[in-house]
């Protein structure tokens, strides 16, 4: 018998279950793109038959990090840049949990960049949503790793001299097995992409364009946007790494010129997830490790039985 009966529980899920019944109300500014992420998750999760207590949402620090204050699941609001290592470990501890990590562009591509690269490389079976508003929102508008070159802010008063980071290409090179970009202004696509990302077995990275009307006034609101799967002007095979790389590069190049490309960029359903790889080399238990601590009949090995080598 499982100690975690919310997991896989068969029941009707009410759409409102993911909205906290009591405070807090979101404190995001009116018009903030972060609402779009929240909404797409609130729709995607019940449509996938998930209930709030089988989901763990792990966030970083930023306006974006407040996501799990307003999404009623198990939540862990961690520290700046560190959502991924916390999320990864929770998934290894209990692979049956649905683990979603989320945070800002500063959080994920800047201070937490190392974790992002390695989580993608290892292909952990988690969903990673980056609220990309091309700015540091919470700390009041400083330049972020994705801010366009020339972007002026209080800390780059003459305009940023740095070329922005390429989130999609970097993720592809690092090894992510599902990579998409969506935008808060495109709720239907966003919901579908989030659903696919959650369903994907492996590291699913969603670069979610979230406009920040408060601090990034110059930036476009990501309209009009183009869905590369819908538009006749674009065609690529999402399973083809080279084609994906090419269109990702173009997408990153044109964003700051005002063309907002979105959609699925790369999907690799063949690559085993990290837990599968680890299991294959014999370093991952068959049963979720967390279950063992609640199993009164579990046998626990003792150091006493290791002493032969010391005698």
């Amino acid at each position: 018998m499982s100690a975690f009966n919310a997991i896989g529980e068969e029941r009707e899920i009410d759409r409102d279950e993911f909205t906290p019944g009591v405070e807090p109300q979101p404190t995001w500014c009116p018009g903030c793109g972060d609402f779009g992420v929240l909404k797409s998750l609130k729709q995607a999760l019940p449509e996938l038959g998930k209930n709030p207590e089988e989901v763990l949402t792990v966030t970083g620090i930023g306006c974006s990090g407040k996501l799990n204050s307003y999404l009623d699941t198990y939540g862990f609001h961690t520290i700046h840049g560190r959502s991924l290592p916390v999320a990864r470990a929770a998934k290894l501890a209990n692979p049956e949990l649905e683990v979603i990590a989320a945070g800002g562009d500063g959080d994920g591509y800047g201070i937490g960049g190392n974790h992002w690269i390695h989580s993608a490389r290892e292909n952990h079976d988690i969903t990673y949503i980056v609220f990309n508003n091309e700015i540091f929102g919470l700390t009041k508008g400083q330049t972020s790793p994705t801010s366009p070159k020339g972007h002026k802010s209080k800390t780059q008063p003459s305009g940023s001299a740095k070329t922005p980071l390429r989130p999609l290409s970097t993720s592809l090179n690092a090894g992510a097995s599902y990579i998409a970009r969506t935008a808060a202004v495109n709720p239907n696509q966003a919901k579908e992409i989030i659903k696919e990302a959650i369903e994907h077995d492996g590291f699913a990275h969603v670069d979610f364009l979230t406009q920040c009307p408060t601090w990034n006034k110059d930036a476009r609101q990501y309209v009009p946007y183009i869905d590369i799967q819908e538009s006749d002007d674009y065609e690529h095979d999402v399973n083809d790494r080279a084609e994906a790389a090419e269109i990702m590069r173009e997408t990153e190049d044109v964003l700051n010129e005002g063309t907002v490309l979105t959609g699925r960029y790369y999907v690799d359903d063949e690559r085993p997830s990290y837990s599968q790889e680890k299991h294959a080399v014999g370093e991952m238990p068959d049963q979720p490790l967390a279950e063992r601590y609640f199993d009164d009949d579990a046998e626990w090995e003792r150091s006493y039985d290791l002493l032969e080598r010391h005698k």
């Binding site: 009966n5 290592p85 967390a290 609640f294």
Partner: protein, 634 residues
């Protein structure tokens, strides 16, 4: 200094296999009924460099290095192969012999490999003259040649062991058994041949004039030889820890390695990750999801863990971190021991510290206190840290096998089951009041685990309300802060009352003079106290392990009971003495310091000397510091 002890030093290049040779020889001595203690000297240079391992063996318990040593096996440095580098490094081959002479006691025995160390070099040392002066007994043997004749050159260590056994009048039985356990086939045959050949050659060709012989002893129970790192790893296993995340760094790597090698067979998970921030964050994440988890590092890596450590404090996520100190600041001296990270471990991370810190002083304590760290962390939902050092990490000592014969304790402490969650307090929307200060007992609010029905809540590093929402209301802030801090007071009480004392005492119950120490300096202090009492001084000692919450009652009683005290620690700024004064707010005029920070641990004689200097100095100020620099002998 004891006459009936052997301190055998095997010296050679750091790639000469002296580790495994010495490990086996130590086991052979242990099996013969002796108590053993090993000390590993690390070369200060990265490439090659000469090094040694010392084994101290005696009938009575040994828990420290001795002063100097009495038997040298100098193998010659096989790493000295690049003639062009001689200009920089001089002649390396001779160093295992030449660099070890200063500490060799009178009457000592020397074997050196004349197959590697040239006659001219030895002449330059004036070895004959010095041997005469010090009554050393020198045995030049062609160990390399002997090994080559019967097997391969690399087996010259075996020849050295055979010769050692002959000169010490030891039987070969245990050495043979250990060889048979470790190898087989032709290799075993060749090694056994070499062992016997060396043994017989020495017996046939030499008349022994030295007095030194292997001591004899008997154990009441079966023994195991293990290191502080083994003890910490085994404590974690028996506490039910099955998740470790880490990034290699000397000397913490030992614990990480031992657990990584054992966990797969125990259904556990080990993760080597991208950096130490990740390592600590993974341990927090795994613990949050219901697993007993740990991480650890040495100084620099632990610095990176600072923020995740604070997150564990604020979210009340149980976790155990181990910190294996080496000489700092910064990269410092990576392979040298020091006790200078105490303040780092006590206070790193923003805000008021809310953690438990234990500093075990010997191998048994390392095991016990690692288990205790897990028990307390999970009972009280608080991070617990075990701080130790390069010395405790690497030294081996024999322990009764029965010591480990106990039940594991995988219990998750104050964690609820789904049934218990049904009875617990929830808000109107059904969110679990995980940080409920109203029904918290001893400050502990029981927790749920993700995936449990009826347990959802938010964990956050921000100050939060009972269900975990970010909350800056002043009353809530004060309630939550006081509740978290109350746990520390309860832990202090529990450590005082219920658990066996984690402090260790040496010497008579009553004495005029007190020595206070912590961590791995314990062994040398214990021996110094014995010697001082034998010499007629009235001295006792306490070795303190409870750093946070601090062992207030016991240290107060100790200091009240003596006229004066000396605090012995391996650092330059008297961190532990500072902690005592901070915690107790008095006794500043009673305490002096004995400090050593040259990269080598204390020898008992240095502590005796520190005591004498302190007492002899009539004008000393209350906060006087005696520094051992350079150390006697090294």
């Amino acid at each position: 200094m004891s006459d009936d002890e052997l301190i055998w030093r095997i010296a050679g290049g750091s790639g000469d296999g002296i580790d495994s040779t010495s490990q086996n020889f130590a086991k052979a001595l242990m099996r013969s009924g002796l108590n053993v203690f090993t000390h590993r000297h690390y070369p200060s240079r990265i490439r090659g460099g000469h090094t040694y391992v010392e084994i101290r063996a005696a009938e009575q318990k040994v828990q420290s290095r001795g002063d100097g040593y009495n038997f040298l096996l100098a193998l010659g440095d096989s790493f000295a192969r690049n003639p062009q580098e001689e200009a920089y490094y001089g002649n390396e081959e001779i160093k295992p012999l030449s660099e070890n002479l200063d500490e060799l006691r009178e009457g000592g025995v020397i074997i050196y490999d004349e197959g590697l160390i040239s006659e001219e070099d030895v002449e330059e040392l004036d070895l004959e003259e010095r041997a005469e002066e010090n009554d050393w007994h020198v045995f030049p043997l062609d160990l390399r040649g002997l090994a080559k004749d019967h097997g391969r050159e690399v087996m010259r260590n075996t020849a050295g062991v055979g010769a050692t056994a002959a000169l010490l009048d030891m039987e070969l039985e245990h050495i043979e058994d250990l060889m048979s356990d470790a190898m087989g086939g032709d290799i075993l045959e060749a090694n056994l041949d070499i062992l016997h050949e060396a043994y017989e050659t020495v017996n046939d060709e030499y008349d022994f004039e030295h007095d030194l012989r292997a001591p004899t002893g008997e154990h009441d129970a079966e023994q195991a030889l293990l290191s502080g790192s083994n003890a910490i790893a085994y404590g974690a296993i028996d506490a039910g820890c099955r998740f470790i995340a880490g990034y290699p760094m000397t000397p913490w790597t030992d614990v990480f390695t031992i657990l990584s090698q054992n966990f797969p067979d125990m259904g556990g998970v080990s993760e080597q990750v991208e950096d130490e921030i990740a390592a600590a964050a993974l341990a927090v994440g795994a613990s949050h999801a219901g697993v007993k988890a740990m991480s650890g590092s040495s100084g620099g890596g632990f610095a990176l863990m600072s923020e995740p450590l604070g997150l564990a404090e604020m979210t009340e996520t149980p976790v155990v971190l181990v910190e294996s100190m080496r000489a700092g600041p910064s990269t410092g001296m990576p392979t040298k021991p020091e006790q200078a990270d105490l303040e780092h471990v006590l206070y790193t991370s923003q805000g008021d510290s809310q953690r438990v810190v234990f500093a075990p002083g010997n191998i048994e304590e390392a095991y016990e206190q690692t288990r205790l760290a897990f028990d307390i962390a999970w009972d009280y939902q608080i991070p617990a840290i075990v701080i130790y050092d390069q010395k405790l990490s690497g030294e081996n000592q024999n322990v009764d096998v029965d010591f480990f014969d106990r039940e594991p304790s995988p219990d998750l402490g104050s964690t609820l089951t789904e049934d218990e969650l049904k009875e617990a307090a929830h808000d109107a929307s059904g969110k679990f009041k995980r940080f409920n200060y109203e029904d918290a007992e001893d400050g502990v609010a029981p927790r749920s685990i993700p995936g449990q029905k009826g347990g959802r809540y938010l964990a956050t590093g921000n100050e939060h309300s009972p269900v975990g929402h970010i909350e800056e209301d002043p009353d809530n802030r004060v309630f939550q802060m006081e509740r978290r801090l109350e746990k520390l007071e309860k832990i202090r009480e529990e450590l005082d009352e219920e658990r066996d004392s984690t402090q260790t005492y040496f010497g008579p119950d009553e004495a005029d003079y007190g020595i206070i120490t912590w961590g791995s300096s314990q062994g040398a202090v214990a021996e110094a106290v014995d010697r001082l009492n034998e010499q007629g001084h009235s001295v006792k000692a306490i070795s303190v392990s409870d750093m946070m919450p601090f062992a207030e009652t016991e240290v107060t009683e100790f200091l009240e009971s003596v006229d004066e005290a000396m605090v012995v620690e391996m650092n330059a700024t008297a961190q532990f003495r500072g902690l005592i004064q901070k915690e107790l707010g008095r006794f500043g005029d009673k305490m002096t310091s004995l400090l050593k920070f040259n990269g080598n641990p204390f020898e008992p004689a240095e502590i005796v000397e520190g005591y004498e200097v302190n007492l002899a100095d009539e004008d000393r100020q209350p906060d006087a510091q005696v520094r051992i620099e350079p150390a006697a002998g090294d």
